[in-house]
């Protein structure tokens, strides 16, 4: 044991073993992954010095110098940047997934990208149409980002550098509301991949070896599309009120039509509008239309309803699944 040199050292005439305590500490050290780290090809040099006085004044000596060359560590991670499933609809094209590719190694490295859309664990397989390399702004723009072609423009990243990668997919028309489709992005070091510790002689930056790090020199992460579709159903009913207090469809009777629009599904419908022609041999009762019980004017103005002389139109806009809208209007039998 080496006890407190500061407080009065114990000198040894034989070289002691490193303590078992220190060994236990070493075992407890977690296997940490270091982002980037010391650049591949650099040299770590260690020299210690000793000063002492053996009766002739203070002298200083240096130890021998030990040089260690730092080899290239190959490490890469891929992370999905989408915080949740990306909503899509049946038959949609150009559906975007966003990933982040990071070089966790300590040398400049190129990465080959590939995608897997049929990995299972989902309801359908999206069709990947393109992979784009971001121009640095993190926002997809086919005009300014670079279309990726495997082997032709593999991204080359410096240590610790990240690049945003976009995947565009087409969704089949046959998918159902609530279905999920997973696409994985895979990045592999071009120097090589393999079990951690695998060495590629002479392939590292700076002329040294390249060593596969804890990530296996390849990384992947999955993003998912979730189909969020909605369907609309319309139910129309009519109530007749004759001038005599009955419900006979005689001339002069008023017919109140009720149209209920029901939106079902996890998505929403945009631009939903209800139009209904006023039936022949009846006359529209001016300003009789209502939406959710509120009166609508016939003019095409600020409210949602209008009557153009032949039909009623009510613009409902965007309606989320699970909601209903009720439109009524009245006609008189001629």
């Amino acid at each position: 044991m080496m006890n407190a040199p500061v407080g009065g050292v114990v000198h040894h005439y034989r070289i002691p073993a490193i303590s078992t305590f220190a060994l236990a500490c070493a075992l407890a050290l977690p296997a940490q992954a270091y982002a980037a780290g010391t650049r591949a090809g650099s040299t770590i040099s260690n020299t210690a010095s000793a000063s002492f006085d053996n009766g002739a004044g203070t002298q200083t000596i240096d130890s021998n110098k030990v040089d260690l060359r730092v080899d290239e560590l190959l490490d890469v991670t891929v992370d999905s940047s989408d915080p949740a499933d990306v909503a899509t609809t049946p038959g949609a094209t150009g559906q975007l997934l966003t990933f982040s590719l990071t070089n966790n190694g300590n040398g400049q490295e190129g990465f080959a990208l590939s995608t897997v859309a049929n990995g299972g664990g989902d309801n359908f397989d999206p069709t990947v149409t393109q992979v784009y390399l971001d121009n640095g702004d993190g926002v997809f723009d086919a005009g300014t980002d670079t279309l990726y072609t495997a082997g032709a423009n593999d991204p080359v990243l410096d240590p610790d550098q990240s690049r945003t990668i976009f995947i565009l997919s087409t969704i089949a028309g046959s998918v159902a509301d609530g279905d999920r489709g997973i696409v994985s992005l895979i990045a592999a070091s071009k120097t090589g991949t393999g079990a951690p510790g695998t060495s590629f002689a002479g392939a590292g930056e700076g002329g040294g070896d390249a060593i596969v790090g804890s990530t296996g020199a390849d990384g992947q992460d999955a993003g998912a599309y979730a189909v969020s579709a909605a369907t609309v159903s319309l139910v129309k009913s009519a109530v007749v009120a004759d001038p005599f207090g009955g419900s006979e469809p005689v001339p002069g009777a008023t017919i109140t039509y009720t149209i209920v629009a029901t939106v079902a599904g996890s998505g929403s419908v945009n631009g939903l509008a209800i139009t209904d022609n006023v039936p022949a041999d009846t006359s529209y009762v001016a300003n009789s239309a209502t939406l959710g019980g509120a009166a609508l004017t016939d003019a095409a103005d600020g409210d949602a309803g209008s009557y153009d002389g032949t039909r009623i139109s009510v613009a409902l806009g965007t309606i989320a699944g699970g909601q209903t809208r009720t439109v009524t209007f009245q006609t008189k039998i001629d």
Binding site: M2, V6, S19, A36, G37, A50, N54, S63
Partner: protein
């Protein structure tokens, strides 16, 4: 990576050639590698590396020997930490350390780092820039000893 030595054997390395002034200080660096043997047991091997990668655990071993005829007084060993190495621990050798490039020295637990906003925080192993052992008693003639510390390649 030429020699793969068990930890216990590493301590039995012979002393190095003596300096002219009859105090010798020998510096060796080992890397700790965990190997799994055929039986599935993990063993820690100390190897003398020529190359390392970030994350490698290094063991720095300093062997000193007073081969002179007289005791060496005020014996101090100083090892500036290579910039690419993060200090981990010094086992139970209890060195003084510096976290400011060798200006101030103390036990790590007593040192602080001044932050940009003027406040101070306790120094961490990663802050260490120099390691020093200051012996309070002379090294007798013929005596030798060994010091060690661990670091991690940044």
């Amino acid at each position: 990576m030429r020699s793969a030595l068990l930890l216990a054997f590493a301590a039995l390395l012979p002393g190095q050639a003596l300096a002219a002034d009859q105090i010798a200080l020998d510096n060796s660096v080992f890397v700790e590698r965990v190997k799994t043997d055929a039986a599935g047991k993990q063993r820690i091997l100390l190897e003398e590396p020529k190359v390392v990668v970030p994350g490698d655990k290094l063991v720095f071993v300093l062997n000193y020997r007073n081969a002179g005829a007289r005791a060496a007084d005020r014996f101090v060993i100083t090892n500036p930490l290579p910039a690419a190495v993060r200090f981990a621990d010094a086992g139970d050798t209890q060195p003084l350390v510096s976290v400011d490039g060798g200006h101030a020295w103390g036990r790590l637990a007593n040192l602080t780092i001044t932050l940009a906003d003027g406040t101070r925080r306790a120094a961490q192993p990663a802050d260490v820039t120099h390691i020093r052992w200051a012996f309070q008693k002379p090294i007798p003639a013929g005596a030798s000893g060994k010091l060690m510390f661990r670091g991690i390649v940044k």
